[in-house]
């Protein structure tokens, strides 16, 4: 059995944002840095590893991707230029596109809101794809 169960989809996600998960040396600095850690089910270093293993569906189903604040601290601090925040954005986009949309619809937003968190991610996804 291949290590990566979902090769084509992973390839598409990685290519859409130019992220190379194989660069990761598993230092966990992204997770150490992440301000949204407590709200997340999966943490940035796990995002990377799960995509590498092809577990995108599990990741896409998790609310964690909407908890990422897009603050880009992990990208700034990653010593290996893996760019976790970009990858999370890529997964979010893949989720949105899978629904046949190219942006978030206003009616989808309330379900994604979390009162305890700033809503940067949703705002950014909304802003970016609402043109």
């Amino acid at each position: 059995m291949s290590h990566n169960k979902n090769a084509a989809k992973v390839e598409q996600i990685l290519r859409s944002y130019g992220v190379d998960v194989r660069k990761c040396m598993r230092c966990g600095k992204c997770t150490a840095t992440c301000p949204a850690f407590d709200a997340m089910e999966y943490h940035p270093h796990q995002f990377i590893y799960m995509v590498e293993r092809g577990e995108v569906d599990k990741l896409a189903a998790s609310p964690s991707i909407w908890h990422c604040l897009s603050c880009f601290a992990c990208m700034e601090r990653c010593p290996r230029q893996v760019e976790p925040a970009k990858l999370i954005e890529a997964v979010r986009v893949a989720v949105v596109r899978e629904k046949g949309q190219n942006h978030l619809k206003p009616e989808d937003v309330p379900a994604l809101l979390d009162e305890d968190l700033p809503q940067q991610a949703i705002t950014s996804a909304f802003r970016k794809y609402s043109k």
Partner: protein, 665 residues
């Protein structure tokens, strides 16, 4: 017409798996002049060489082409074998069908075709080869070691031991280097000063060794066996021969606020100083940037109190010219300054220190006299966090760090953690690691002791950020094994910063024409088989200037470099490269173009008599090449407008023949 023998090497399967060696031998056997063509499993083996020698004898070969690995690997081997059979070694040419063909191509047809073409080019060249005889040049029996750290010290001592003179050029006022700043050494925990200073004294007392302290290499000319080096002795404003090293001046100097680089600027020293108590030579130096006398002309305290009259405010830089047979680069390293890592707060929080700063904070001769105190408020720290791999193992595109593993940080961090826990059992010590790398004799045992015996908390994960809050350092980190994000209130944070080559190394490499890699470490002549030699003949490498290493490894490499230098200096004569320039006097028009481009001054002009028409004699000015000085670069051959200058072994006709053979296909 030459009688050429062609030998195709299989190199086991290295070549034969991608190149149809039989087909190459067959194709090349039809080339003009080829009288013998065969393939063999390992041409470089004893039996392969015998095969070649027998063929030279039986077929009366006048030229040989070996299609094998790179000439940088075995050209010398095959030339030697040919020479044993009475063939001039320079009648042997190599076609590189391993590095340039079989290792990079997958398609057999394509690879075989290319191998045939490269073989043809080599045959075309051999047709024009001429027997060459190597000249000889003398060897200056003295070595130069650039850098006086433990690497340079060990190399110098070993060379001197063999009876040769050695000069050490050290840019600081004392030898000793980084090791002098270190407190204890892993994995035995003996005191660095205790093992280093006797060696420094040995250097000072050795009659064969001359130390140029506070000096820098200014220019290097010449070549292996015959280097001419200009050394700049920087003005230290103290006469070296007169200063007794009593240190009175360093106590009386009124300028007290000079940062002390020996203590990593954690305390201050005077404007006139001796870097540390065991300095060699123990001679004071004045820091011209801070000395009131040198800046304003009003002070002169040191001069007044110096009983030996050693102070000389008028001292100027002095250039010394010395000759050497060999040069050793031992330029060492510096720890990377982590000021680009804002998340660790090194620039803003005084209690975030680098590992070398911690060494000084724990050293009995350091700013705190060996008691570990926080730099900010001089209190005893209870919780310490060590961060590994700061600036090491970064992506090649990462601008802040280095792509390599600095090799020594895992071990020195284990050492620090252990020493702190031993001396201050009331402390909690956390080490955040990505991997713990401990290859080395007794290294892993040492690290395990830190965990098992001293209870150091090793946590797999990295520190994300350090923020100063109410006198505490809030450390936010991840523990990857438990999947938690940790928040630790620390008193001190220690960054294990990457090792980077000393900034002076790049300039020195340029002067030595020694090559460097993209990280500014010196390149070795062969990564495995010639690790202490530079590809430039006569230049040797010692210590961290070649790549990160710990003290035991540095000392072994330093001794290895010394062995290579001794091997060179033991020779009375060196065989020169016979592939040198040669001027055809009949074509030379005496224009001096060649003389101007020659980097070695190997070309001289003289008036010579030539026979003119009607029994007249003409006197013409023509160039001649000093074969012992010419290094065979060929700059003059292209500059010559009349085509008189040519390079033996790489003549115009030979290179054109290769071009023709490649383009013919």
């Amino acid at each position: 017409m030459q009688r050429i023998g062609v030998f195709i090497c299989h190199c086991g399967t290295n070549i034969a798996a991608t190149v149809d060696v039989k087909a190459v031998a067959e194709a090349l056997s039809h080339e003009p002049g080829v009288v013998f063509s065969t393939d063999y499993q390992y041409m470089c083996s004893e039996s392969g060489q015998t095969l070649m020698r027998e063929a030279i004898r039986e077929h009366k070969l006048t030229g040989v082409v070996v299609c094998s690995c790179s000439p940088r690997m075995h050209e010398a081997t095959f030339r030697k074998a040919a020479e044993k059979e009475g063939l001039n070694p320079y009648m042997v040419e190599i076609a590189n069908i391993r590095e340039q063909v079989s290792w990079i191509h997958k398609d057999m047809k394509e690879a075989t075709e290319k191998a045939v073409i490269l073989g043809r080019a080599a045959i075309a060249k051999v047709h024009l080869n001429k027997p060459l005889k190597a000249g000889e040049s003398p060897v200056t029996k003295r070595a130069l070691v650039i850098g006086g750290g433990i690497a340079g010290i060990q190399t110098a001592l070993d060379i001197a031991e063999a009876g040769f003179e050695v000069d050490i050029v050290e840019k600081e006022p004392t030898i000793g280097g980084k090791m002098a700043q270190i407190d204890k050494t892993f994995p035995t925990l003996d005191c660095a000063a205790y093992i280093l200073t006797p060696k420094m004294v040995d250097v000072a007392q050795n009659e064969k060794i001359k130390i140029f302290s506070y000096s820098e290499v200014e220019a290097v000319k010449g070549f292996v066996g015959n280097f001419k080096v200009s050394i700049r002795k920087k003005a230290r404003y103290v006469i070296e021969d007169k200063c007794t090293g009593c240190g009175l001046c360093t106590e009386k100097c009124p300028q007290k606020k000079v940062p002390n680089p020996f203590n990593m600027n954690l305390d201050t020293r005077r404007a006139i100083y001796i870097p540390f108590a065991q300095a060699v030579p123990k001679v004071a130096a004045i820091d011209a940037d801070y000395c009131t006398m040198l800046k304003t002309g009003k002070c002169g305290v040191c001069s007044k109190i110096c009983a030996a009259g050693a102070i000389d405010y008028q001292q100027k830089d002095e250039i010394v010219e010395r000759e050497y047979g060999a040069i050793v680069a031992a330029t060492g390293f510096n720890p990377l300054k982590p000021d680009k890592y804002n998340e660790y707060g090194y620039s803003t929080c005084p209690d975030v220190v680098t590992s070398l700063e911690l060494e000084r904070l724990m050293n009995a001769a350091g700013p705190t006299a060996g008691t570990l105190l926080r730099p900010s408020d001089k209190t005893h720290p209870h919780t310490l966090v060590f961060v590994q791999c700061v600036g090491s193992r970064c992506d090649a595109e990462n601008e802040k760090g280095k792509p390599y593993c600095s090799k020594i940080c895992c071990m020195y961090t284990a050492k620090h953690a252990m020493l702190i826990r031993e001396k201050y059992p009331d402390t909690e010590v956390y080490v955040f690691y990505i991997d713990v790398r401990t290859p080395g004799k007794n290294f892993d045992e040492f690290y395990r002791r830190a965990v098992e015996q001293y209870g150091v908390h090793y946590i797999k994960g990295q520190v994300g950020k350090v923020v100063e809050e109410n006198g505490k350092l809030k450390v936010q980190a991840s523990d990857l094994l438990s999947g938690e994000q940790l928040h630790i209130d620390a008193d001190m944070v220690v960054l294990a910063t990457a090792v980077e080559p000393d900034k002076s190394a790049r300039g020195i490499a340029t002067m030595l024409t020694a090559s460097m890699d993209t990280n500014d470490f010196f390149t070795e002549a062969h990564a495995k088989l010639r690790p202490v030699e530079s590809p430039t003949a006569g230049i040797f490498l010692s210590g961290v200037c070649q790549g990160p290493k710990d003290i035991p490894e540095t000392v072994s490499q330093a001794s290895a470099a010394a062995a290579k230098v001794i091997g060179l200096l033991a020779k009375d004569k060196l065989t020169c490269n016979p592939c040198v320039a040669n001027s055809d006097e009949m074509l030379c028009n005496g224009c001096s173009s060649c003389e101007k481009v020659c980097p070695y001054g190997a070309i001289t002009y003289s008036d010579k008599e030539f026979r003119g028409p009607n029994r007249t004699t003409l006197i013409r000015r023509v160039a001649s090449v000093n074969e012992a000085v010419c290094q065979g670069c060929g700059a003059c051959t292209v500059a010559c407008p009349s085509g008189a200058m040519d390079l033996k072994g790489f003549s115009n006709r030979q290179i054109m023949a290769e071009v023709d053979a490649i383009c013919k296909m």
